[in-house]
């Protein structure tokens, strides 16, 4: 007989989502206006541009116990500031490679391009990410 109180609590991934103000945050607003239901595990932080994301934001989030980190910006060519997302792409590619190199599961860091018109895509990206992280379980490697 199993004691229900002894059962491990269901794992709820904690995700920090950095959304650029002009595309991805607006896209998430559109998901809201369209009443698209998606997983509540990702908490958004709106930033001016994906290019403003310092690698430290990602490392720090993992350090503070995030199970996953998402950075979402405008599609290439669509950046409100013209070039910020290209800078983000190069920089965060390096962060992703480094994290994988030391053995963090590749699925814990994700980047996406979500335009202001892609509410449905935003919901899919979050749901897909949460699903992948549920499979991985809690992130303990870089967590303090």
């Amino acid at each position: 007989m199993s004691d229900p109180s002894q059962e491990p609590q269901k794992f709820e991934p904690r995700i920090v989502a950095f959304l650029c103000k002009w595309c991805s945050s607006a896209g998430s607003d559109l998901a809201g206006v369209s009443r698209l239901q998606y997983s509540p595990n990702a908490t958004p932080i709106t930033i001016p541009c994906s290019g403003s994301v310092s690698p430290l934001y990602i490392l720090s989030a993992f350090n503070k116990g995030a199970d996953g980190v998402l950075v979402s910006g405008c599609h290439p060519g669509d950046c409100h500031y013209m070039e910020g997302n290209y800078l983000a792409r190069r920089k965060l590619y390096l962060v992703k490679e480094l994290l994988q190199f030391v053995g963090l599961e590749p699925d814990r860091f994700r980047m996406s391009w979500v335009s202001a018109a892609e509410g449905a895509k935003f919901a899919q990206v979050v749901d897909g990410f949460v699903k992948d992280i549920r499979t991985l379980g809690p992130q303990n490697r870089l967590r303090r």
């Binding site: 709820e12 904690r14 920090v16 945050s25 607006a26 998430s28 607003d29 559109l30 998901a31 809201g32 206006v33 009443r35 698209l36 239901q37 998606y38 509540p40 908490t43 958004p44 932080i45 709106t46 930033i47 001016p48 541009c49 290019g51 403003s52 994301v53 310092s54 430290l56 934001y57 720090s60 989030a61 503070k64 116990g65 995030a66 060519g77 669509d78 950046c79 409100h80 500031y81 013209m82 070039e83 910020g84 800078l87 983000a88 920089k91 919901a123």
Partner: protein
């Protein structure tokens, strides 16, 4: 850091309250460090709601305010204004979006409430470190630059001068007039294009407030809205327009003949030429690429015969620097390349024409003096096939988009053809007829009924030459039969594409382009004439396919925007700009290179931000390895606190 933060959690009626336990959120937050006031309210954006914000700030002496409600895109300004009325600086108020990003997208009340708490806590952490900021005032230069001298540029320039502004009109070609001046008649009223456009061209040349610079291109742009500095490169002016008497003596002696672009290559011109009789500026030009050598030893015939002494082979290109407050880009369109339409025999058979060539055949001033004749043998074509969507609406092979004007101008072409050749037969292959616009549908109907034009719904698969005719193989999908027509002439209604050089000008001006290469507007619906860069506006077909009335409307709209912009003595610029923490800065210039706006320069070994140029994107802080540069009110410290709040 502020210590007396206030929080309002909005129910938004049931919009938020149905999914988020707003009372609980407000109660929990009241326990947080630095939170001095926390309440929920049913409709924050209502008048009493805004009043509550003002009261709360005054009564509790708050130094920071978080409104947990809908997207900041909707009511950030509302609540910042209310906070100001309460005595705060507007930037000490932040919005936590718990509607679009939480209540509306989740069902589980427990989880949504937890997420709303995190979102609001992050906003509290942020606002506690927000600085009060004041908008940055920037004086403006009351002059405008218009790039492109087609109908869009001409209209915009004239409208701007009507408001008393000085205008620099830059045109790459030797004359203004653009594509429109090449047209014979215009749909749906069939008024002659030259008759309606040349008075405007003359008005440009006579207008003392317009500085017209033909054969010129914008080389570089620096500065920012209200204060741009542009460098304009002008080709060598071998013929002085002031002195040229347009006597035409020079062309008689010029030994060179090259295709005349104005007639779309249907005729030839000399190396020294005037594009057409009504060209503005009214002057001959020397085509330096075609000329035998700009050297009296080699040729020099035109210089010898010019009695006015207007020709000088020693002229050099010039570069002019001008200050302007705003820029309108009206660089127009080109037709989709004939070289890409080999399936229709384009470029292979002389009698397969592009749309503008057919205009030149119909035009009284055109290649054949207004007679529709086959270029190959100068016979009157008795059967003409028009092919719509040549290059449009074909994502696999050509352009995916609809070029919008081709349905109408093809109907016009067919009508004009019937007027010129009453016993001829016109066929039009089409996919759909798109005739939205005043009088447009009626025009198409007249073409079908009065001019007996045969409309065939279907695509043409191939055009080839047989027995001196052009055999057109197509399909009529309405009857389900294959169609073969032995035509004397084929006219393609090609897609419009951004004019050659659009990519370069977009890069020079740092404005975006859409996936098809057209200049991108700042918002597809609400900002259709603004580019993404403040102070730069778009007009005409450079922004997307459009007809003349729409082009003129957009040009006037862009001019109106510029007039409004330059009507103020000062412009307000967002103060959420980058700030350097000097002791940390080593002057490595990574931020300088990363800044998309060239807003950072090195002064005495440290980065310095030009606050007027800075748009606050934070690319600088994203690359600074020393964390020595931050965007005000979105500092790395604030983001760090927000991450901590979310993961606490």
């Amino acid at each position: 850091m502020t210590r007396r933060t206030g929080v309002f959690v909005c129910h938004c009626g049931k919009n938020i309250a149905a999914t988020v336990n707003v009372k609980k959120v407000a109660q929990e937050l009241a326990k947080d460090e630095g939170v001095f006031f926390s309440e929920d309210y049913v409709y924050m954006c209502s008048d009493p709601g805004q009043g509550a914000v003002i009261d709360a700030i005054k009564k509790n002496n708050l130094d920071g305010m978080v409104i947990s409600c809908c997207s900041p895109n909707l009511h950030e300004k509302t609540f910042r204004d209310a906070s100001e009325l309460g005595g705060l600086n507007g930037f000490q108020c932040e919005i936590a979006n718990i509607r679009e990003q939480c209540a509306w997208v989740h069902k589980d009340i427990g989880k949504a409430t937890e997420k709303a708490l995190k979102i609001t806590r992050a906003a509290i952490k942020r606002v506690q470190r927000n600085q009060p900021l004041e908008p940055i005032g920037v004086p403006v230069t009351r002059r405008a630059l218009v790039v492109g001298g087609g109908i869009a540029g001409i209209q915009a320039a004239l409208d701007l001068t009507d408001a008393g502004l000085d205008v620099i009109l830059v045109e790459k070609q030797a004359t203004i007039g653009g594509n429109m001046i090449k047209l014979s008649e215009t749909f749906p009223t069939l008024d002659c294009s030259q008759c309606i456009l040349s008075p405007k061209m003359v008005a440009v040349s006579k207008n003392p407030k317009i500085r017209l610079m033909t054969q010129s291109e914008v080389e570089s742009v620096s500065g920012f809205v209200g204060n741009f500095r542009v460098r304009i490169k002008t080709k060598a002016q071998y013929v002085d327009p002031e002195q040229c008497k347009i006597c035409d003596d020079c062309t008689a002696v010029c030994p060179v003949a090259v295709p005349n672009q104005f007639d779309q290559g249907l005729t030839n011109r000399r190396a020294i030429y005037i594009p057409f009789a009504q060209a503005i500026p009214a002057s001959f030009n020397l085509d330096e690429e075609a000329c035998l050598g700009l050297n009296p030893v080699v040729c020099g015939k035109c210089e010898e015969v010019c009695e006015a002494g207007a020709i000088d082979y020693d002229r050099k290109p010039t570069v002019t620097e001008e200050d302007v407050g705003a820029i309108i880009v009206a660089t127009g369109f080109d037709l989709y390349g004939m070289d890409k339409l080999g399936e229709y025999g384009a470029g292979r058979y002389k009698d397969v024409l592009d749309g503008l060539q057919f205009e030149r055949l119909c035009s009284a001033s055109g290649a054949t003096g207004g007679h529709v004749l086959r270029p190959s043998d100068h016979r009157v074509p008795k059967e003409v096939v028009f092919i719509q969507c040549s290059g449009s609406r074909d994502p696999e092979n050509h352009c995916a988009y609809c070029s919008k004007i081709c349905c109408m101008y093809t109907a016009k072409h067919a009508t004009l053809y019937k007027h010129h050749v009453p016993d001829g037969q016109a066929y039009i292959f089409y996919i759909d007829i798109r005739s939205g616009g005043k009088g447009y549908e009626e025009f198409v109907q007249r073409t079908m009924e009065n001019d007996g034009v045969v409309y065939l719904r279907g695509r043409v698969s191939k055009v080839y030459q047989k027995d001196g005719k052009l055999r057109v193989l197509g399909v009529d999908t309405l009857t389900g039969t294959n169609v073969e027509i032995d035509a004397d002439m084929v006219v393609l209604a090609q897609a419009m594409q951004p004019s050659k050089g659009t990519a370069e000008i977009a890069k020079t001006l740092k404005i975006g382009r859409d996936k098809d290469g057209f200049l991108a507007e700042a918002h597809p619906k609400l900002k259709p004439v603004e580019s993404v860069t403040a102070g730069i506006y778009l007009a005409g077909a450079a922004q997307g396919p459009k007809d003349i009335p729409e082009t003129v409307s957009q040009a006037s709209a862009a001019a109106g925007k510029v007039i409004a912009l330059l009507s103020k003595a000062e412009l307000a610029h967002s103060p959420a700009v980058a700030r350097v923490r000097e002791p940390w800065c080593t002057g490595c210039e990574m931020c300088v290179d990363a800044c998309p706006f060239e807003a950072i320069e090195l002064v005495a070994g440290k980065a310095r931000v030009n606050e007027v140029l800075c748009e606050g994107c934070g690319s600088c802080s994203g690359v600074c390895v020393r964390s020595a540069i931050d965007v005000k009110n979105v500092t790395q410290l604030q983001i760090h606190e927000m991450i901590s709040a979310i993961l606490a």
